[in-house]
């Protein structure tokens, strides 16, 4: 039994009077794809936000590869290998697709003043290497897109922006990838295609664990081996999709059935 890559105990986060996370316990096995589902407002995105350090936790603990990371800021979370996409698209639209991808690779780029202003040959080489790497990654998701890397992100449709966001998160070779409703705004086919591409990367790269927040249940069913169901900030069920979808507590949470 391998140790979990990520584990949370009693994670709690309040916003004024609202308890967004209420003593959440969660574990993710390395190399797996975990689905995180639950009705609107159940705390899924808040979990991502607290995990990545955007909001501090009011109580509880998070461990990543055994080490405590509860108090790390977003910058620290990125550096230990956790990358994410956002529920609402957060690309820098005036910048080129390539620029946006390079944001994701921040920690592998040289940012010294001397290097960037004076050692232009070396900079050029680093830019070229990264350009090729970015092209290869983007090619997996959409070959034509890989040819448009020098266009502004504002000029591509939403689905391509989502792809770029996923690539931005993948390009730094994270250990844990957090996907927040990647399917929003996409058709069923586009979503499946996106997930297939992500899984392809997971297999090629190896060592990538994924937590997926999703509302489209068919995607969860197809892509995840295990899911965790949240409601009012706590875990109410856990297991394979087939199991949890039959769980009466889960059904009540979603559909309000008796």
């Amino acid at each position: 039994m391998t140790a979990p890559l990520l584990s949370c105990r009693g994670l709690t986060r309040r916003f004024g009077g609202v308890v967004a996370l209420d003593g959440l316990d969660l574990e993710v096995d390395p190399g797996s794809v975990l689905g995180l589902i639950g009705p609107n407002g159940s705390g899924k995105t808040t979990f991502f936000n607290v995990l990545t350090g955007l909001f501090p936790a009011d109580a509880g603990e998070i461990r990543f590869a055994g080490a405590p990371i509860t108090d790390l800021r977003p910058q620290g979370i990125y550096r230990i290998g956790i990358a994410r996409t956002f529920q609402r698209s957060r690309l820098c639209l005036p910048l080129s697709i390539f620029d946006n991808l390079m944001v994701g690779n921040h920690q592998h780029l040289e940012h010294g003043l001397w290097f960037n202003l004076v050692r232009r040959q070396a900079l050029r080489r680093q830019i070229d290497e990264n350009y090729r790497a970015a092209q290869e990654l983007l090619h997996i998701f959409d070959p034509p897109l890989a040819g448009r890397m020098m266009e502004p992100a504002s000029r591509i449709p939403m689905i391509d922006r989502r792809r770029v966001e996923v690539c931005r998160a993948l390009i730094s070779r994270p250990k844990l990838l957090l996907l927040d409703e990647p399917s929003a705004g996409m058709t069923h086919e586009e979503t499946l295609r996106l997930m297939d591409d992500i899984l392809q990367v997971q297999q090629t790269v190896g060592g990538l664990t994924i937590i997926l927040i999703e509302h489209e249940m068919s995607v969860i069913e197809r892509v995840t081996r295990r899911c965790v169901v949240l409601n009012y900030g706590r875990k109410i069920a856990e297991g394979a999709y087939a199991e949890v979808s039959r769980d009466p507590q889960v059904r009540q949470a979603y559909l309000g059935l008796e």
């Binding site: 995105t45 936000n49 956002f86 529920q87």
Partner: protein, 306 residues
């Protein structure tokens, strides 16, 4: 230091604090309703003072002499002019750029304020020089020991306090206030509830600007003079006070205003050799406080959705 000197300092501080609080409440209203920094507010204060002065000049030239009537005319003119200015700024400058980055609104209102300020300087007769503002309140007072408590200062303080209290009641107890609070909380929901977003914004801006009018007239009555740039420092201080207390928080704005005045007074007492340094001291403390408690002493209300 004798008691009367302390009392004088306290009085000065209270007057300044009241003015700052009035301006700060305006900033807070604008931020609350539209999540924006409206930097023409200080210059609207100046416009209020100058329009009041213009009213007085015209009416006295026409022969009116009663200080009570003149005072009413001055305040009324200032209020009407600033309310209109506030609404115009909201309608033509702020609302159109609402969707642009917050920085754009700050820039466009700052430049708009500059236009207003320069118009006063260039087009008001003798506008580039400080102008004498009439003393329309009774200048007598009571003597408490060695301290002379001026009647007009008391009136100004009381009036300012009533105005703020009135605003507080308006926001808290009336339907309009409810609409304003609804819009401040969540524009979309307020709209779907049938609230006329535009109207609420215009009214809020007019309301905040009327407070500015009073601050301007108060400034003129207290110092007996106005000048075209008076709104600049007042605006910056009002903004700082609003931030100190926590943007969007009305109590915070009032506390911030009086706190800043207190800091200035402490600075003036501690550094008697140059009065200019009192502002440096006060802002220095403000910077420190902002660094330590960025959401303000009482707490900011806005937050961003991730």
């Amino acid at each position: 230091m004798s008691l009367s000197v302390i009392a004088q300092y306290v009085m000065n501080g209270a007057m300044l604090g009241m003015m700052y609080a009035l301006v700060a409440v305006g900033f807070t209203l604008f931020f609350g309703v539209l999540d924006i920094i409206q930097f023409s507010h200080g210059d609207v204060v100046a416009a209020g003072a100058f329009s009041g002065l213009a009213a007085w000049t015209l009416l006295t030239a026409a022969g009116m002499t009663s200080p009570g009537l003149l005072l009413i005319a001055v305040i009324a003119t200032a209020a009407i002019v600033t309310a209109l200015l506030g609404a115009v700024v909201a309608r033509f400058i702020v609302l159109p750029v609402k969707t642009a980055p917050q920085l754009n609104v700050l820039l466009v209102t700052l430049m708009g304020g500059t236009v207003l300020r320069e118009c006063i300087r260039l087009f008001y007769p003798g506008g580039s020089q400080p102008k004498l503002f009439p003393a329309l309140l009774p200048t007598s007072g009571w003597n408490i020991g060695a301290f002379h408590l001026r009647f007009d200062n008391v009136i100004l303080l009381v009036a300012g306090g009533l105005l703020i209290a009135g605003t507080h009641l308006l926001i808290g107890r009336t339907r309009l206030g409810l609409a304003i609070r609804a819009v401040a909380q969540d524009e979309e929901t307020a709209r779907t509830m049938g609230i006329d977003f535009r109207r609420v914004v215009l009214v809020t801006f007019a309301l905040g600007s009327v407070l500015a009018a009073f601050a301007g007239v108060m400034d003129g009555l207290y110092y007996n003079e106005v000048f075209f740039g008076m709104g600049l420092l007042l605006g910056v201080i009002g903004f700082a006070a609003a931030i100190l207390g926590g943007l969007g928080n009305m109590y915070g704005a009032i506390v911030g205003g009086f706190l800043f005045a207190a800091l200035q007074t402490v600075g003036a007492v501690a550094l008697p050799f140059a009065s200019a340094y009192k502002d440096v001291f006060a802002f220095g403390v403000v910077i420190l406080l902002m660094a330590i408690r960025p959401t303000g002493l009482i707490g900011e209300s806005a937050s961003e959705r991730v």
